[in-house]
Amino acid sequence: MSFFKKLKDKFQSNQSNEEVSYKYKEGLSKTRKSFSEKINDLVARYRKVDEDFFEDLEEVLIAADVGVSTVMDLIDELKMEVKRRNISDSQEVKSVISEKLVDIYYGEDEEDAAVGLNMQENDLTVILFVGVNGVGKTTTIGKLAHQLKSEGKKVMLTAGDTFRAGAIEQLSEWGKRVDVEVIKHSEGSDPAAVIYDGIRAAKSRQADVLLCDTAGRLQNKVNLMNELSKVKRVIEREIPNAPHEVLLVLDATTGQNALSQAKTFSEATNVSGIVLTKLDGTAKGGIVLAIRNELGIPVKLVGLGEKVTDLQNFDPQAFVYGLFADMLDD
């Protein structure tokens, strides 16, 4: 388990990391507890690694919304590994389980796993938010605006959701709370036109960051997905290399459909990162495993509540540490 030692050392040697991981432990305490407790339970219940053991392990993972096919692959690999190393004691298999789960998070290159936002050094950074209805796009924009502003950046927002009742007022309210300017048109106007105006205004006011809100849309609505592609093209036309991030906002309570969301939104807008919201609830957020495993899109931010400070940069190591803290302690 030297890998975990490394992780643990890293957190203990570094103050700010300790804080981050604490936040995660806090926010994910329920997740962490139930998840690792279940694996511990599992191990305690079985002295031998047999079919029943794997069946129950499968359930623990599925209950965390990891995704059926990811779980099946994982179990197959585990079975092979157990056979290869000739393990029959369930205590021993625990380390193999953790290793495999961590592998999925990190993918091929462990070091690159924590990907921050792609910010332009001395130029306008444009970030486009996309996602299905009600996942937390507008709220995340408010929170991120606050975070970036407190880093000393000049932030502007643009109200690209011209459809939903009260959407423009909602973003305006966030603008007020965070004290940043909001570019908006009236309800029912063309979203691409608002975004265009937002870019123009951000350029002329020499803003550092422009956060673009869009209306929630279900990924199977072809017309609405085309509309989104158009919005993105408008941004591309105005600024080469923009949008610098297209963030897909996913609700952690979402089940298997999140994969379809990630896939279709990527096709329409070339998603560069994921914001996983509502992790302060009881949903496990295991879908992150499936999405990283099957689509390779990194999670960049995590929503842990409705307050302006409830946004964390996604740190996979802290996330994994949070999930497995109990297991690491013994």
């Binding site: 408010g142 009742a165 009260g166 909602q170 990924q219 199977n220 609505k221 979402t254 089940g255 999140a258």
Partner: protein, 454 residues
Amino acid sequence: MAFEGLADRLQNTIQKIKGKGKVTEQDVKEMTREVRLALLEADVNFKVVKDFIKKVKERAVGEEVMESLTPGQQVIKIVKEELSALMGGDESRIAVADRPPTVIMMVGLQGAGKTTTTGKLANLLRKKYNRKPLLVAADIYRPAAIDQLETLGKQLDMPVYSAGTDISPVEIVNQAMAKAKEEHLDYVLIDTAGRLHIDGDLMDELIQIKSNVKPNEIFLVVDAMTGQDAVNVAESFNEQLDVSGVILTKLDGDTRGGAALSIKAVTEKPIKFAGMGEKLDQLEVFHPERMASRILGMGDVLSLIEKAQENVDEKRAKELEEKMRSASFTFDDFLEQMGQVRKMGPLDELLDMIPGSNKMKGLKNVEIDEKQISHVEAVIQSMTAEERQDPSIMNAGRKKRIAKGSGRSVSEVNRLLKQFDEMKKMMKQMTNMQQGGKKGKKGKKGKGFNFPFM
């Protein structure tokens, strides 16, 4: 979608059995395993799946499947029967208080669709039951939640009670009740803020509102895309508030919606309505049978038929068909036909409702493109009346003008003209064939034939 329906899943085992001509207990085990996977992929909670599979297995190992000549069909039949039993029957009644106003309270997690559904319910109550609802803005937490409800009220031209955000939701609701009584409004719909079921303080707030106004209905609003957590949420809300029913939102998406089954299983409360879009008239009665098919990936044929019946003018459809046969079909007719098809809703949604359509390779590759349809429409709309009736007068100058008018390229215009021509030829051929009384033989040309928007 990447998901396979249950029927597809069972194919393998069924093939094997066909080879042997005998169903063993092992075969049944394999089939129930496939049933399990199908349900899990549909987001049905694993505990619910476990209980369910047990029941199916018991029946399947008995004579029903083992003795059957069509074991696959038999398994599907058992699964559907058990699912339907679990889901219960249609139940979309809304309570009516002995003494008005009737009070309905909307509760649920953040972003589930409470505010939107409040508007939809109010709309339904007026439209179908001729009621006069008052909408109550009791969400003082989410930014602009009150604006949102007030905007919906304006769209519906219905009264909204709001009192700002400096007053407690409990007090707002009390005041709203007084107003409803005063103005003889017979329904009070309370839109509450989204909250986590584990947030003690906020849950207490709901409990207090409940004990104050004794709602006749408490609807738990749940997002149809919810995963395994649906059981925790539903169980917890139900334990604390004893909800009277569930409304499932965002069913216009492509989620299988297994959460429906989980929620029904743990709460035993009826799912009464389904949100089918963002607009205020997109609330439908929830049909458990159809949901069962959807969860299993068997398509939602009934909804498809209903949709078609609702939106297509049958007489006009017949006339158009007649025109097709007689080959007097013009661009005007074509435009109208496309309009009819479009009225049925987004085409890909329609396709999704057809069982096995995701399996039919041809259909999948076709990918009906709505954008493409708009282009075709634009081109036709840029034609003069004369050109639409008789495309043979088309020349380079006219094509150029049409291209410019529609914002499409000349080659696109050419393509459409060519396809239209082929289509007419095809129709003629088909009609001739039918009239000649020959059966079965498909026109050779039919193979490469495509509608212009496919």
